[in-house]
C-alpha cells in the first residue's frame, strides 16, 4: 500500500525536525554541558554521603545522577520545544502548517532522547571513575536496557509538558521551580518509599518513579523499594509511559485545534 500524501508530509516533517535538532546540537554541543553539571555534582555529593554505607550505594548515586542528566535534557529539550518556538516566533506558523505540530515536536524529542542517553552515559562514567573501583553491576545488559527505558519514560513526561507549554509563557518558570520537586517526587536518588505515604500516589503518577524502582530492583541486591517488586514495577512503568504518550497525542491534537479555532495563541 502506498503512503498517503498526509503520512508522507508527516514523516517528512518528523525527519526535518529531527535533522534540525541534530544540526543545532552539532553546531553548538556545549548545550549538553549545563544539563550534566548539576547531575555530576549531585552524584559526587551523594557518593560522598553514601561513603561507608556499603558497595551497592554507589549505584544510588550513579542512577540518580544519570536520571537527573537525562531529565535535564528531556525537560529542557522536549519541554522547551514549544517555548523555543514561542521565543523565535515560529510557534504560530508551525501550528498553522498542515502537518500536525506533534510531528515537529516528536523529531526534537527523539533527538533529546538520544542526547539525554549520551549525557546519562557521560555522568555514569564520571561518577563511576570517582568511585575508583568497578561498579558492582550484576547484569550489565539488563541494566543498560532499563537505563534506556528510564529515558523513554522521561521523554513521555517531556512530551506532555511540551503540549501543556503551548498554553503558558511560564514554561521556564515551571522547569526551574519543578526540577527538584520532580527529583524528590520520583525518588531519583533514594527509594520513593522513604517519602511520606500520602505522597506515594502522586509519585506513582510519573512513569520514571516505576522505571527507576524497577532499575534499582534489578541492580541492587536486597533493595527495599515499592512493595510489589520488580515485575509489577516494570508493568507500571510501561503502562504509565503508554498513558503519558496517549495523553500527549490527544492533548497535542486538542490544543492545536483549540488555538487554531480561537486564534488566541499570541495571548500566551
Amino acid at each position: 500500500m502506498r503512503p498517503t500524501l498526509a503520512s508522507r508530509n508527516r514523516s517528512r516533517s518528523l525527519f526535518a525536525s529531527l535533522r534540525l535538532a541534530i544540526l543545532s546540537f552539532v553546531a553548538d554541543p556545549q548545550w549538553l554541558v549545563p544539563s550534566m553539571i548539576a547531575p555530576v555534582i549531585f552524584g559526587l555529593v551523594s557518593f560522598e554521603l553514601f561513603k561507608g554505607s556499603g558497595p551497592w550505594f554507589v549505584l544510588y548515586a550513579i542512577l540518580g545522577a544519570g536520571m537527573m542528566s537525562m531529565w535535564g535534557q528531556t525537560l529542557y529539550g522536549s519541554g522547551w520545544a514549544t517555548g523555543q518556538d514561542r521565543e523565535l516566533g515560529t510557534l504560530e506558523p508551525t501550528l498553522s502548517a498542515p502537518t500536525p505540530y506533534l510531528y515537529v515536536v516528536l523529531g526534537r524529542v527523539i533527538w533529546n532522547t538520544v542526547s539525554g542517553l549520551l549525557g546519562g552515559a557521560i555522568v555514569f562514567v564520571v561518577v563511576a571513575l570517582s568511585y575508583g573501583r568497578p561498579v558492582p553491576l550484576q547484569d550489565p545488559l539488563s541494566f543498560v536496557l532499563l537505563f534506556a527505558f528510564v529515558m523513554v519514560s522521561l521523554a513521555s513526561v517531556g512530551i506532555v509538558f511540551s503540549a501543556a507549554y503551548v498554553y503558558t509563557r511560564y514554561a521556564g518558570f515551571v522547569q526551574n521551580i519543578g526540577e527538584f520537586a520532580f527529583y524528590v517526587g520520583t525518588g531519583c536518588m533514594f527509594p520513593v518509599v522513604l517519602l511520606p505515604f500520602w505522597s506515594n500516589p502522586i509519585s506513582l503518577v510519573f512513569p520514571p518513579t516505576w522505571a527507576l524502582d524497577a532499575l534499582r530492583y534489578a541492580a541492587i541486591p536486597g533493595y527495599q523499594g515499592l512493595p510489589w517488586g520488580f515485575g509489577w514495577d516494570l508493568v507500571g512503568a510501561v503502562a504509565t509511559t503508554c498513558v503519558y504518550l496517549a495523553i500527549a497525542g490527544t492533548v497535542f491534537v486538542r490544543v492545536e485545534r483549540h488555538v487554531l479555532e480561537v486564534g488566541n495563541l499570541s495571548d500566551y
Binding site: P34, I37, I41, V45, E48, L49, F50, F173, F180, F190
Partner: protein, 242 residues
C-alpha cells in the same frame, strides 16, 4: 528578573532542594552528615541561585538585548553601575537564606536559640554580599564568553560539593579543600552554622572577617575585571564578537 522567578527562588527552590538532600542524608545515615547538617548547608547554599546565576546572567541578557554596547559607552558612574547591578540580588539573597533557614527550623527542627538571631543575621548579610560580589566577578568573566550559562551552572552547584554544605570540607581530597577555601560560600556556611549553634564571639569574628574579606576581594576583582574588559572592548571594538 520576573516576579515569578523571584518568588520561586525565595520560597520553592530552597524547600525542594533541602527536602531532596535531607532524604539522601536519611538514606546514607552518615554520622558526619546528619539531616540537620545537610539542611542548614543547603539552606545557605540556595543563595547561589540569586547571587551567582542571576547576576552572571545579566551580562548575557544585556548582550541579547543589545544594551551592553550602550552601557560600555555611557558616561555613568561605574561604581553606581556595578553596585546597582548587585543591589537587588543582595536583597533576594537575604530573603532566600532567611526563608530557607526558617524552613530548616520549622520543618526540619534544626536547633535555634533566640540569642542566635543577631549573629545569624550578621552572617547572612555578609554571606549575601560576598556571594553577589562573586557573582559580579563571574559576570565580568562572562563578558568575554558567548554565554554565561555554563559558567553560571558550574558555580551554581560547585558549592554543594566544595563548601561544606553537605559534608565537612575536611572529607575532600586536599586540592579540592583548597579550592573550597577560596569560595565565599564555604566561609558563609561556616559562619551561619556557628551563628545557629550560638558560638561565642571569639569564634564568630574570624569567620565574619573571612566572609567580609571574600566580599571585598570579590567586589574589588569584579570592578577591576569589568574595568579591564571595558577598556579592551572600547579599544578594540570587539565586544560584539562575543
Amino acid at each position: 528578573m520576573r516576579i515569578d522567578f523571584i518568588l520561586g527562588t525565595i520560597f520553592v527552590i530552597p524547600l525542594t532542594q533541602m527536602i531532596f538532600f535531607a532524604f539522601v542524608a536519611q538514606l546514607a545515615d552518615n554520622p558526619t552528615s546528619s539531616i540537620a547538617y545537610v539542611v542548614v548547608g543547603n539552606a545557605v547554599a540556595t543563595v547561589t541561585y540569586s547571587s551567582i546565576f542571576s547576576v552572571c546572567q545579566t551580562t548575557d541578557n544585556e548582550k541579547q538585548a543589545g544594551t551592553m554596547e550602550h552601557i560600555l559607552v555611557s558616561p555613568a558612574n561605574r561604581m553606581a553601575l556595578y553596585f546597582g547591578r548587585g543591589l537587588v540580588p543582595i536583597l533576594i539573597s537575604l530573603a532566600t537564606v532567611s526563608v530557607a533557614l526558617t524552613y530548616a527550623v520549622v520543618l526540619f527542627h534544626v536547633a535555634f536559640a533566640p540569642s542566635a538571631v543577631v549573629p545569624l543575621a550578621i552572617s547572612i548579610v555578609l554571606t549575601a554580599f560576598a556571594m553577589v560580589g562573586f557573582g559580579l566577578l563571574l559576570g565580568g568573566v562572562a563578558l568575554y564568553l558567548r554565554t554565561s550559562i555554563i559558567l553560571g551552572n558550574i558555580f551554581l552547584f560547585l558549592g554543594l560539593l566544595l563548601s561544606g554544605a553537605n559534608f565537612p570540607v575536611s572529607s575532600l581530597p586536599l586540592p579540592l579543600q583548597w579550592i573550597g577555601r577560596f569560595l565565599p560560600l564555604t566561609w558563609g556556611i561556616a559562619a551561619v552554622r556557628a551563628g545557629l549553634s550560638g558560638a561565642p564571639l571569639s569564634q564568630l569574628l574570624p569567620l565574619w572577617g573571612l566572609v567580609g574579606l571574600c566580599a571585598l576581594v570579590a567586589f574589588g576583582l569584579a570592578i577591576g575585571l569589568w574595568d579591564t574588559f571595558e577598556r579592551r572592548a572600547l579599544a578594540t571594538g570587539s565586544i560584539a564578537r562575543y
